[in-house]
């Protein structure tokens, strides 16, 4: 019981940390730091509250498979976004027209 309370304490500390750090502007590191702390909290919950730390290899395999498929989905979508062929700009093309063309919302 004390052990679970200790894990809960660690999760509270990480929550306070991520909320506090959000008040500080770390520039490009804002999102990576927030997601790293979220991943650390998720790992604590999965290992100890969900007992993965003591589970057999089948359970760990199933959990890892979920993450693998998730990372495949992100890899293909982000890979597509990063490598889309952006055509050379014709004459008269300006940034406003470019953003209007990119935005499906206008």
């Amino acid at each position: 019981m004390r052990f679970y309370a200790g894990i809960f304490g660690a999760l509270l500390v990480l929550t306070a940390l991520t909320t506090g750090v959000a008040e500080i502007d770390l520039g490009a590191l804002n999102s990576p730091v927030a997601m790293l702390i979220a991943a650390a909290k998720a790992t604590l919950v999965a290992l100890f509250f969900m007992h993965l730390r003591w589970s057999g290899y089948r359970m760990r395999f199933a959990a890892a498979a979920g993450l693998l498929w998730l990372s495949l989905m992100f890899a293909f979508v982000l890979g597509d976004m990063a490598t889309r062929n952006i055509p050379a700009q014709p004459a008269g093309w300006n940034e406003a027209a470019a953003s209007a063309a990119r935005s499906p919302l206008k």
Binding site: M1, Y4, A5, I7, F8, L11, L12, T15, T18, T19, A22, E23, I24, D25, L26, N30, S31, A34, M35, I37, A38, K41, A42, V45, A46, F48, F49, M50, H51, S55, G56, R58, M59, A62, A63, A65, G66, L67, W69, L70, M73, F74, V77, L78, M81, R102, S103, L105, K106
Partner: protein, 215 residues
């Protein structure tokens, strides 16, 4: 009702039955990861297209309300873990007490969520109904962020409501002494589900509340 003396006919032992049901739950959780993952993937895509609108959108949410909901949900995960521990020790009364605490904390979370939705409603920040509360030039993109906010949190809230229902049934069964130290699989797999829903929120919190808090 009392606990079973023998495992189901097709299992050699309670241990084997237990591991099979746990593995089945993990299989289901894999599909859940991809279920939420699809929306999160869309969120990421549009965040890369409109980074500034995502900053403005997340500032419409209260950082402290989000942090409070995170703490409530983490506390419910603690009581859930303690309920599973009580089940492993065969303490039926303790299972009921800890499950009742978990359900109560889950309801507190849903109440805070409802309070937050009410705030969005009165400030006219509900895309599709009335989004006149945000008038800056980037309002179409910010509206898109708020749509993601509502989809992700509603999807999560539906999972919470289902979880509260499942835990209520488990608590009634525990009250009727259905579980014992060797036969308590349903408590464990309900716990896995509850913790998973908690983990989803641990990611939603920075994605929906902390994007622009530092600005």
């Amino acid at each position: 009702m009392s606990s079973n003396v023998y495992p189901a006919a097709h299992f050699r032992s309670f241990d084997q039955q237990h591991e099979a049901s746990e593995l089945g739950m993990w299989g289901f959780l894999c599909t859940e990861i991809l279920f939420f993952g699809g929306v999160l993937c869309g969120y990421t895509m549009y965040r890369l297209l409109y980074p500034q609108a995502w900053v403005h959108g997340s500032e419409l949410n209260s950082l402290w309300l989000g942090a409070a909901m995170t703490v409530v949900l983490l506390a419910s995960s603690l009581t859930m873990a303690l309920a599973v521990r009580a089940a492993q020790l065969g303490q039926s009364k303790a299972i009921v007490v800890f499950l009742a605490a978990t359900i109560a904390l889950g309801v507190v979370f849903l109440a805070l969520k409802g309070f937050e939705y009410y705030g969005h409603w009165v400030h006219h920040l509900v895309p599709g109904f009335n989004f006149s509360g945000y008038q800056a030039p980037d309002h179409p993109q910010v509206a898109l962020f708020v749509v993601f906010y509502f989809f992700l949190t509603l999807l999560h809230a539906v999972h919470m409501i289902i979880g509260v229902g499942v835990l209520s049934v488990i608590a009634i069964l525990a009250h009727r002494n259905r579980f014992s130290a060797i036969d308590h699989g349903p408590v464990e797999i309900a716990g896995l589900y509850w913790h998973f829903v908690d983990i989803v929120w641990l990611f939603l919190f920075p994605l929906l509340y902390l994007v622009g808090a530092h600005q």
